[in-house]
Symmetry: C2
Subunit: 379 residues, 2 copies
């Protein structure tokens, strides 16, 4: 958890945005939103059973309306008003407590909750209907999304630390992966390396391996062994102090083909093109077009749908590098550049990703500098 | 992924339940529900950006309405009709494609989606409102919850495998944890042990350590060192082939106090009481009361809210061992017993958890037999 003043600043920042839309209260149900305003960090969200609610008034500290099992941990945060019930409760799982809290806080002013892209409703729809029958809740006008998009120095430090950990694990990969190692062993061993390097946990690992790239970047590992000539890609998100890294590395098993070598070189050119456009004042769309020109010759995108995105409390959050995202880049935004290129025009893709923070003068790479050529694994 | 017939059986089972409620289609947005019917397994759900939809007709195979980035992986499942769009799309993130699919499939019949406890809406509320303006969607009458609650032999095997892995890691814990080891190192090292023992990944680890038990079972690790006299508890959920274990173990750092020893013995008596009531035909409530009699002398529960729960595709799912859960136990249900007792009546708690499947003749413990006394870590 950060210093208390970090959360007070965030709370104030969101309340300023709320005031611009006349919101009397904000209802939050998701882990990242609740943690953003309080620092409440637990892996217990893995259990879907209990809902958790945070109510942010127009002024003052947020109010937690949570299952009693979480009260001791919530009491360590900035939150002072913690209202609990013993969950699960089949007849009223916090709904009446939440209803009265929202009424207390908002009076007759509008209540907002995240409605837009990336937001989910982390409570049962049946309970939402019941709640909506008693209090009117509408969009938060994107105030949480906007507030979270620009990171504080403390947040940037945490993401940098996560990136260094993942970078350390990637540097050690040749020790555990070579021709004939099953992909599932590579995945398992890589996660152990991330922990050894200091990750608190490893929420995300995906990847692929194939002779001329891979057609799928979101699969879990099969038991198929690596083969000479394969390109192996691992894409990981590790957690340090509650913040994510999110970048990948490509490895050549033995000597890569000329086509794969050229594709990787092209990918590095696409990264440089993205970096060239990455500065405060440009839009996300500008960065997309700079990379897409190299990746597809300017076709306007690929099936993956974007060439990078924001990150922080979540593996992916905030802006997307697409043709249609006109978010203006600001100092403090943390993003990934994630272009992909096809290998010799075939179905096989290779994808590279690095993490950056937008600075006053341009950008700083938070992940380690990528190798100019693919690192070779023993054949 | 299991054999094709496993998914066909599940699909048929859910459709039989749908027919009983006259549902023409089911809309699913959550990972576990979509995976239950298809076997679609990816850690990409960690990214909140893209919504994923599965539409189950009254007859025939489910239809996937998903971002194109997932098409290659979905094509490996039983699903044949895969409708994609390039996501994220800020003007229409799959909503019109989903609307037309639901209309095609359901005609004028009712459409259901999970509305009850543990279900969330994994799509933006704004898009849900838009969808609901075009097609009427109401409760699924709990058909997904009911179907998932009774496990197939293949599911029980997967959960048993996950439990054996976590059990192996617990057996090795004394090698990495002793007096003066920081709790954060214990957590990191334990996750490495889980991977070494064969876990695909480790989505959940929580725990606590304190002189007379702990007051919080959901915290992440601090850097505080273990001290002689502490009781250390680790509660983990590891994944093997997409299925969870969920159980804990308590360890004594050095020689435990008499009060802690007695509390642990009492906890084992509570487990035996739970096991004594755990059989097909009894209710969840029966099992709760059997344990609560030992834990609180019959006070009717503690602040944690329940004394165990179902598990499977999720860390916690299905029934809860509470006074109010009248679910009738059936052969094939996989559950945890998770009683807690206070140490000498103070604020400190110790909690024990094991995993079981209800069988034709009683139960089988899926986690290894717990030690009769707390395992000691070096002081």
């Amino acid at each position: 958890m950060f210093e208390r003043c970090e959360y007070l600043t965030r709370i104030k920042g969101v309340q300023t945005r709320m005031a611009a839309h006349g919101l009397g209260a904000l209802l939050l149900t998701q882990e990242a939103d609740i943690r953003y305003l309080t620092g409440y960090l637990t892996r217990f969200w893995e259990s879907p059973t209990r809902p958790w609610f945070l109510v942010l008034p127009a002024k003052g500290l947020p109010i937690a309306v949570i299952p009693s099992i979480g009260a001791a941990l919530m009491a360590q945060t900035v939150v002072e008003d913690i209202r609990t019930w013993s969950a699960p409760n089949y007849s009223d799982d916090g709904v009446s407590l939440l209803t009265s809290t929202l009424r207390d806080v908002a009076g007759s002013d509008p209540i907002g909750t995240p409605f837009g892209i990336e937001s989910h409703l982390r409570m049962p729809l049946g309970d939402w209907m019941r709640l909506s029958g008693d209090v009117t809740i509408s969009t938060d006008h994107g105030v949480m999304r906007a507030a979270r998009m620009v990171k504080s120095p403390a947040e940037v430090d945490a993401i940098r630390a996560a990136c260094q950990i993942a970078g350390g694990a990637f540097a050690l990969l040749p020790e555990i992966a070579r021709a004939r190692t099953p992909l599932s062993s590579v995945f398992r061993g890589f996660q152990m390396l991330c922990l050894e390097e200091g990750a608190d946990w490893v929420p995300y690992l995906a990847g692929g391996a194939g002779a001329d790239g891979y057609d799928d970047v979101i699969s879990p590992a099969s038991d198929a062994p690596l083969e000479v000539g394969d390109i192996l890609m691992l894409d990981t998100g590790v957690i340090k102090d509650g913040y994510f890294s999110d970048f990948d590395r490509n490895f050549a098993v033995g000597k890569p083909s000329d086509a794969a070598t050229r594709a990787y070189e092209n990918l590095m050119i696409a990264m440089q093109a993205g970096e060239g456009a990455l500065r405060a004042g440009n839009t996300a769309s500008d960065v997309f077009y700079a990379m897409d020109k190299i990746c597809t010759g300017g076709a306007g995108g690929q099936s993956a749908g974007r060439l990078g995105h924001g990150l922080g409390l979540q593996l992916t959050e905030g802006l997307s590098f697409t043709a249609d995202d006109h978010t203006v880049l600001e100092e403090g935004m943390v993003i990934t550049l994630e272009p992909g290129v096809s290998v010799s025009g075939g179905a096989g893709l290779i994808v590279h990703e690095d993490d950056y923070v937008v600075t006053a003068t341009g950008w700083e790479r938070l992940s380690p500098k990528p190798p100019e050529q693919m690192v070779r694994l023993d054949g």
